[in-house]
């Protein structure tokens, strides 16, 4: 007990470094500050970059010491600014000074546990939560040791009083070099600090030991966060868990680490996982959290998933019906909707409206057939022809009939429609499960099919943007969307424009008040048009509204995908193996790159020509050439 009393006498200062591009403070930062508040006597917040008033008032709940500085020198110069502002004499008043940044989320457990445990180690000069075990090759090219030695990870470091009083520490901070690149921040500070002081005889340790004497992982907190929390009672986890490089993850894990973390937090701890989602949705690229959180919903099509929530959602199906000869197929898909859902059929064929009404009459639902102008295809049918009814419903499935007659044999396009139909309206149970999935995940805004990949669609994977990044970004700007968008990261878009969405999430697009005249008259290009930009914008609209997009498929389709993708990978690997080049994935990638960079590489003339033309010519000219080529060679 005496220990506890002593504890409370031990004064603690927390220097919290904050950075957000827009200066916005999300709920998770509040939760962290609240956790720190109970174990510290004073908190100093350093923001790298300006913050809006509401962020300031949020910070004010925990401290009056708010330093706002230019975004320069990373969190490290943020710490330095705080240290310089306070002065060493003030710092030396404290038993512990904590330097930490906002890349940590938590606490999962009260911080008292950790600080009490570490209080039992009075001999330490400085300590942290976790280490990186180091790496022999210095990729930063600026670490004075020429390698990256084992080090306390700088997102959380605690200096003890006797360390604060040492001249060595003061010298270090007083002479801190300028850090202008990320590499310098790592090479000259993070990976340098621990060894630098350890070599001078200062004692250090960490709270969360990497299992198996450090052999478990180079970066335990990132590669096995669930284990760190569950077994080693780590109070924090990294925000990076949800957007870290996939190749690095897949080097050590099966890709399960982040989803395991998220599910564990949600099901077994008090931590509010909505705080994670809110931050990710606001700041991250959608493809990043989709892959780390495995946002590929695989739903049963033959039975219902458990429904803890009774459904009171208002549902509609909006069909853009263009091909009258596909009416039976369309009707078959529409029949999967629940009885209380309304069905809207938009068609540009005035003369067929009666026929459609008749056909759809066999459905028990309310069916509204509406004739729309033949301008803008399925896109205007969505942006204009769905906007007017959207607010009456919570959830809408947008469907349009598709004939893939651009490629021969037509089975290729037919398989694409199969993918669309199955992913959206596989069966009535499946549709119920989709609705239930929306009900259970309040941040879910859009469910799309995965991209097609058979035959000539294969390049779609990795070429999701095609020639459509610029026009999508224009549209992104036009709609004043804030969701991050990058040519390097694929959109989670419903290729084929058949998808489920929450109307609340699509509000911004509908509120724009599109007119049919905003869309180009036929004939439309096969790629690179406004219509193609629209196809890719939906998920960004959803993300901007604070929701996440995800992929969905019925379990039978998941089987096919597993067959297909293991097949692709296996066959590629067989070639590598045959030539003695089989290796880790990212090594094979480098080999591939080297292979095709070689001047001897027999890239076919056709490929080379196509590639050069595509790159050099404007999309319209290129497209015309393609059309001419197709006319000649079919």
């Amino acid at each position: 007990m005496s220990l506890d009393v002593k504890c409370s006498e031990k004064k603690r200062l927390v220097i919290y470094s904050f950075f957000d591009k827009k200066g916005i403070v999300d709920r998770y930062v509040g939760a962290m500050l609240q956790g720190l508040f109970t174990v510290s006597d004073r908190i100093v917040i350093v923001s790298n970059g300006a913050i809006p008033p509401q962020s300031r008032s949020l910070f004010k709940k925990y401290t009056d010491d708010i330093i706002v500085r230019e975004n320069k020198g990373f969190d490290i110069w943020g710490y330095k600014t705080a240290i310089d502002t306070l002065g060493w004499s003030v710092l030396q008043d404290y038993y512990e000074v904590v330097l930490m940044n906002d890349t940590l989320m938590g606490p999962v457990y009260p911080f008292e546990e950790m600080f009490n445990a570490m209080n039992k180690r009075p001999e330490l000069d400085f300590w942290g939560i976790s280490v990186h075990t180091g790496i022999s090759h210095d990729f930063t090219h600026c670490n004075p040791y020429g390698s990256l030695p084992e080090h306390i990870q700088s997102f959380f470091m605690v200096y003890r009083n006797k360390f604060l009083k040492s001249n060595e520490l003061k010298d270090y901070w007083d002479n801190l070099p300028q850090l202008s690149t990320y590499e310098e921040a790592i090479g000259k500070y993070e990976t340098f600090f621990t060894k630098h002081f350890a070599d001078m005889g200062f004692r250090w340790d960490i709270y969360i030991k990497t299992p198996y004497d450090g052999n478990f992982s180079d970066y335990y907190l990132l590669k096995a966060p669930r284990r760190a929390i569950e077994k080693d009672l780590c109070p924090v986890f990294k925000r990076r868990s949800f957007f870290h490089d996939q190749d690095d993850f897949l080097f050590q894990t099966m890709g399960e680490q982040s989803l395991e973390l998220f599910n564990y937090l949600r099901d077994n701890t008090d931590y509010d996982t909505d705080m994670i989602l809110e931050n990710l949705i606001r700041t991250c690229h959608q493809s990043d959290f989709v892959r780390t959180l495995g946002l590929y919903y695989v739903l049963p099509e033959e039975y219902l998933i458990p429904a803890p929530k009774t459904l009171s959602l208002k549902i509609a199906l909006v069909i853009h019906l263009y091909y009258i000869d596909l009416i039976d197929e369309t009707l078959h898909c529409a029949a999967a909707m629940p009885l209380d859902a309304d069905i809207y059929v938009n068609t540009p064929h005035k003369q067929s409206a009666e026929k459609i009404k008749e056909s759809f009459n066999i459905l028990p639902n309310n069916v509204f057939v509406r004739v729309i102008p033949n301008r803008g295809r399925d896109v205007s049918s969505f942006a204009v022809g769905t906007a007017d009814i959207a607010k009456k419903y919570d959830l809408i499935c947008f469907y349009h009939d598709k004939k893939g007659t651009q490629t021969k044999p037509y089975t290729i396009g037919s398989s694409f429609s199969y993918l669309l139909n199955k992913s959206s309206l596989a069966s009535s149970q499946y549709v119920q499960n989709v609705i239930q999935t929306f009900a259970q995940n309040k941040y879910l805004g859009l469910l799309a099919n995965i991209p097609p990949h058979n035959g000539p669609y294969f390049p779609t994977l990795g070429c999701e943007w095609g020639p459509n990044f610029e026009n999508t970004r224009q549209l992104h700007k036009k709609l004043r969307l804030k969701a991050p968008i990058s040519a390097e990261k694929p959109p989670i878009c419903p290729m084929g424009t058949v998808f489920w969405f929450r109307t609340e999430a699509m509000k911004k697009l509908f509120d724009y008040k599109w007119e049919y005249e905003d869309f180009p008259l036929e004939p439309n290009g096969i790629d690179g048009t406004l219509l193609h930009a629209f196809e890719r914008i939906y998920s960004y609209v959803v993300q901007d509204a604070g929701f996440y997009p995800a992929y969905v498929m019925p379990s039978s389709l998941a089987k096919i995908q597993l067959v297909d993708f293991t097949y692709y990978i296996r066959e590629f690997n067989k070639i590598f193996t045959k030539h003695g080049a089989q290796n880790f994935f990212y090594v094979e990638k480098q080999i591939l790159d080297n292979l095709f960079n070689s001047p001897d590489c027999p890239i076919t003339m056709r490929n080379a020509l196509k590639f050069t033309l595509k790159r050099k010519l404007s999309p319209t000219v290129y497209e015309r050439l393609v059309k001419i080529k197709r006319a000649i060679f079919h």
């Binding site: 992982s217 890709g255 993918l419 035959g455 379990s555 067959v563 880790f584 080999i591």
Partner: protein
């Protein structure tokens, strides 16, 4: 069928099976054919089993067993001669049909009465193969493949049989020595040859849907052909077609959709399909074509309200080696239902009390037994498990796993995560696995997906490693007669954690194994008898008439799909950045060509280690006998630590 003299029909049924076995589907087909014919001649290329002969004799006295020569066309020619040109002309129709099709789905009367109405015909068939501009077989006299009636079912009318051109064709037909010749000189030649001479022909199944215009309607859209165009047959090939062929034209969904359609919408007994393809096909084709990846829910029960006739008796057999993983093992063991019995094999007597104490919290009957420490998990199941498995219908084999030869250890931990979660994620999931076995009586074993993280990446594509020959030898020893190929990956349980139906592996347990059969420690890292045993499991199951499949909980499927898309995308991005577009097949061709021109190996990519350790290792591995190399490697690891694969850093 009631028939007047001038409405007589002769069937020539061509049969071929490598082993001369006629499966149930043949019986079903012959019965249907008999009902619409007056006479049947059954020709087999190659010897047949007595049971096959009995089956044939049920339907016809005219059974010709000939040497396996000349393919289908050789067989047809012999049958035509057997009947005699004079006799043939007494028939209204002669039907040539072979055993590569399955069915019928609709009564054949429907088809024949429809076709009877078309009186002016010389010959007809069911489906066609479209034109191919070049001749991949190099045997067709036209130099390309013209549009033609597919030869699996062809009907020749009386006036055609009487024509001298027809006789001349058969008389002049050269000896057919290869499949290419059979296609070039008969199947792809026949239709145009006679069509050009003014003989009239039509198809019964005409593709009515423009979107599905394709070269082989019956393969590329079988459900549509059956449902919309009333095609009475489907090709056996649907279920072992090359995956590239499917993926160039479809998403690979066709065979699975066909199977589902047959099962749910027709009277055709799909077990007949399974029985045949399990007996004759390579298991990889089975898995790929039937999508044998079970994605099971971890949150709700599959069989709610349903009970099965017989409750399966279930056991969990655990090989427990690492006592420090005891509680993890216990955690996974607790997923099996209370009525299941648990057997724990351990090779360390000292650990038995601790194991008993820990497992006493479970409601199950728990038996702890001592096994010899030779042959690890493999002998633990085959010898330690042998006496108990026969008392159960379904067994899950589990063993604790620690991969210490790879650093960081998280690589191995993720592998054990994959294996354990796929077998024993939680109680609901395990119940769903049991239900899956109940619902699919021909399912023999369920295994996890291969690992693919870090150094395991090339497992996909290297499932055999250096183990093909030893596995085949073992298969021969066990008397398995089953398709195996070094080019087609086995469905193995990477990590030796899997579920199996004991009936499926009976052959493996019946053999009296001794511990001495297994290699002693230190175990070589690959190519041993134990590695062969691991790979032979699924073939044992298959030869017993069961199919192996993959299984995973739903959340793991999401992760896997996410990973696989990542791998595929990244490859695409690199190749596309060099201007190489096109399908997966096209890209692979390009990759092959490039590899043949340029030698790029990991050595070029990574600078060699400073002292050339890697090179020394390779040389030693190649030159030294394993018995010396392995201890050397261990010694090296003892001194220098485990293999540390280079790590990238990210903060």
């Amino acid at each position: 069928m009631q028939s007047s003299e001038d409405n007589k029909r002769l069937i020539i049924y061509f049969f071929y099976d490598k082993d001369g076995i006629a499966d149930r589907y043949i019986d079903y087909m012959l019965k249907a054919l008999r009902d619409i014919s007056n006479k049947m001649i059954i020709v087999s290329n190659g010897a047949i089993k007595p049971a096959t002969r009995d089956l044939f004799l049920k339907y016809s006295e005219d059974v010709i067993v000939r040497e396996n020569k000349g393919f289908d066309v050789g067989a047809y020619k012999e049958a035509l001669k057997y009947e005699g040109w004079e006799n043939l002309t007494r028939y209204y129709e002669v039907v040539l049909v072979n055993s590569t099709v399955m069915g019928p789905i609709y009564p054949l009367e429907e088809m024949f009465s429809t076709m009877d109405k078309k009186t002016g015909l010389d010959f007809w068939g069911i489906t066609k193969h479209g034109k191919i501009d070049n001749d991949p077989f190099h045997c067709n006299p036209y130099g390309y493949i013209p549009e033609h009636i597919q030869s699996y079912f062809m009907v020749l009318r009386k006036k055609f049989l009487e024509a001298k051109e027809f006789r001349k064709y058969w008389d002049n037909l050269p000896q057919i020595n290869s499949y290419s010749e059979s296609v070039g000189k008969f199947e792809s030649f026949f239709t145009k040859y006679f069509g050009d001479q003014g003989f009239e022909y039509v198809l019964y199944v005409n593709n009515t849907k423009e979107e599905l215009y394709t070269n082989q309607y019956i393969i590329e859209a079988p459900v549509h052909a059956i449902r919309e165009d009333k095609c009475p047959f489907f090709k056996k090939r649907s279920f072992f077609q090359n995956q590239d062929y499917y993926l160039e034209k479809t998403m690979g969904e066709q065979p699975l959709e066909l199977f589902k359609y047959l099962k749910n919408n027709t009277n055709f007994d799909t077990d007949m399909v399974l029985e045949n393809i399990i007996r004759t096909c390579n298991q990889r084709d089975l898995v790929n074509n039937l999508g044998l990846y079970y994605v099971l829910s971890s949150s709700n029960l599959l069989n709610e309200g349903k009970t099965f006739e017989k409750e399966l008796r279930i056991a969990l057999i655990i090989h427990l080696y690492y006592i420090d993983l005891l509680y993890e093992t216990l955690h996974y063991a607790s997923a099996v239902p209370a009525k299941a019995d648990i057997y724990i094999n351990t090779s360390n007597e000292e650990n038995i009390p601790a194991i008993k104490r820990a497992f006493s919290v479970l409601p199950n009957k728990v038996v702890v037994q001592l096994v010899k420490n030779r042959g690890r998990d493999v002998s633990s199941l085959l010898i330690g498990g042998a006496p108990v498995v026969k008392s159960y219908d379904l067994v899950c084999f589990y063993h604790d796993k620690k991969v210490k030869q790879l650093q960081p250890y998280s690589i191995g931990r993720s592998f054990s995560y994959l294996a354990a979660e796929s077998a024993l994620h939680n109680g609901i999931y395990v119940k769903n696995i049991i239900t899956t076995f109940e619902k699919n009586p021909l399912l023999g074993m369920l295994v996890n997906l291969p690992p693919h993280n870090g150094p395991y990446y090339d497992t996909l594509g290297r499932e055999w490693g250096p183990n093909f020959d030893n596995t085949r030898r073992l298969a021969e020893q066990l008397g398995l007669n089953i398709a195996m190929s070094p080019d087609k990956a086995p469905v193995i349980s990477h990590g030796s954690v899997f579920w199996f139906r004991t009936q499926a592996l009976v052959k493996l347990f019946e053999k009296k194994w001794r511990y001495e059969d297994f290699p002693d420690e230190p175990l070589a890292s690959d190519g041993t008898f134990s590695h062969a045993v691991e790979r032979v499991h699924s073939y044992v199951a298959q030869s017993a008439g069961f199919y192996p499949a993959y299984v995973m909980p739903d959340f793991l499927a999401s992760i896997q799909i996410s990973d696989f898309i990542h791998y595929t995308r990244e490859f695409n991005i690199i190749m596309q950045s060099k201007g190489i577009y096109g399908s997966a097949l096209a890209k692979r061709c390009q990759l092959c060509q490039s590899f043949e021109k340029i030698s790029v190996t990991p050595k070029n990519v990574f600078p060699a280690p400073p002292v050339g350790l890697r090179r020394i290792k390779l040389v030693l591995k190649g030159r030294l006998p394993r018995i010396i190399y392995i201890p050397l490697l261990k010694l090296k690891r003892l001194i220098l630590g485990p293999r540390n694969v280079s790590v990238r850093i990210d903060t």
